[in-house]
Amino acid sequence: MTRHPTRNPFTHSETAAVGVSVEGLSKSFGRFEVLKNITFAVPPGEIFVLMGPSGSGKSVLLKQIVGLERPSAGRVTVDGRDAASETTRGQVRMALVFQSGALFNSLSVYDNLALYPREHQIADEAAIREKVMRALQILSLEGTANQSPSELSGGMKKRVAIARGLVMEPQLMLYDEPTSELDPVMSATIAEIIATLKEEYHVTSIVVSHDRELALGIADRVGILMGGELVSLGTPAELRNPPDPRVAEFLNPKIDLQHPRFKKLET
């Protein structure tokens, strides 16, 4: 990578990646406790992958970081600012790539990407066009600019969602299951894109996923969430021989036709 690590691709200005800190975070919906006393920190510029079985609270944790939901107890800070406060979003540029893409269906792909700079009056139309086309080019999506989101395939929607995040020149990029429902090659492509964005633009990335290849391939550190608790936290190398048997099974499940798991559950 030849580019200066803190250069932003669009404005050539310095953007500082931000750190995220989660302290004693708990979240309950009614009586159901989804997150239990979670503590970890992500330093600026790191790729942190959060893994865990479905329903373990990964997406809820992501919503806490981006400030869409308030914690029941504990605190999440982004760049030292309280994530639950409405003003934080104005001070730190955070982009969340939703699992579904969450593209604006009434707008074309181009307008989806142009919405953020237009609404925040960051640049004039010519500069916005340049930014948007550059973001589409990075994700090999030039041909889709005038299409509507409903005309795109699942993989394209995800890439458009990443491109939309990129136009925001984010200091923190959050991905919710970026490779789910994608074929293996497209999953690898998305993983490469996430890693490249970190290398070239020095953005902090938090990736929620249960894609083992992605976690072991691009993560600086991996956290594993089970039943609302952070049961493991370490580098991908440390994860190859996890001491916790639950983590070992989650990362390396053997298909055992003689003793199927669902039959064990029944007895």
């Binding site: 869409l68 982009a95 969340l96 939703f98 579904s100 593209l103």
Partner: protein, 254 residues
């Protein structure tokens, strides 16, 4: 008890949404493209159905008035009856009911689906307040378009009454006579009265429908529920507000 808290919560969040949207009023000029689009959706697309309905409301009023008033030789006053009823009551109420069915439902459906498919969450993470981008242009547009719809409802209703009065054998009143009575017994304040009511109804329908759409939770099935809720709430609100606004306006004018 739970339903009562739900109603109070609904009122609270609607008022909050109103203040939030109003605080972005200075951004309206740069959102003029959205404002014009909403004027088109709210005004132009509702116009034909408002015209058709008010034509028949005016006609049936003339017909019924002719039937009952000719018994005591008062049928020459049909013009004033149709004129006043349309201007003070039926024009604004009918326009508002159609607005609830056509625009209120569409707003609730659109915003509810944006909420269910996380587009609203996406806007919030992008630090673009939905109250500014989605609610303000709609509220501004209804304030401009609602009096226009009500005036058209009045005019078409009067015209419908005139037409029926001329061509119904038992009534047979010439349009000149019909409109001269209409003018004699009606003042500008009667029309203005109706326009103020229309403005209040329209604003309330759009605000409530926006709030119901934005407070949708759950899956796609909730989109349908949000639409039903928006229309039913709007209809109840129109009739309740109608009484209180009429009463307040009478009090102010006396």
């Amino acid at each position: 008890m739970n339903q009562l808290t739900a109603i109070l919560e609904g009122i609270g969040s609607t008022v909050q949404l109103l203040f939030r949207a109003a605080s972005y009023t200075p951004t309206l000029w740069r959102q003029r493209a959205r404002f014009i689009e909403q004027c088109f959706l709210i005004g132009y697309t509702t116009l034909p159905i408002v015209a058709i309905l008010s034509f028949f409301i005016g006609s049936v009023l003339a017909l019924q008035a002719g039937y009952s008033m000719s018994n005591f030789g008062a049928k020459q006053f049909i013009g004033s009856l149709v004129g006043l009823s349309m201007a003070r009551e039926l024009g604004p109420v009918m326009a508002a009911i159609l607005l609830a069915g056509r625009v209120g439902s569409a707003i609730a459906a659109e915003l509810a689906s944006m909420k269910v498919y996380q587009e609203i969450d996406a806007l919030e993470t992008m630090d673009i307040p939905p109250a500014r981008m989605l609610v303000l242009p709609r509220l501004a547009a209804v304030l401009v378009m609602m009096p226009v719809l009500a005036i058209i409802a009045d005019l078409v209703g009067w015209f419908g009454g005139a037409l029926i009065s001329k061509y119904t054998q038992s009534i047979a009143i010439e349009p000149e006579a019909y409109f001269s009575v209409l003018r004699r017994f009606m003042e500008f304040k009667d029309v203005l009265n109706g326009l103020i009511k229309a403005e209040v109804f329209g604003f309330a329908i759009v605000l409530v429908s926006c709030n119901i759409g934005l407070s949708t939770r759950g899956g796609p099935r909730e989109i349908g529920a949000a639409v039903t809720k928006a229309v039913v709430t709007s209809l109840i609100m129109i009739l309740v507000l109608d009484y209180f606004v009429t009463k307040a306006l009478m009090h102010l004018q006396s």
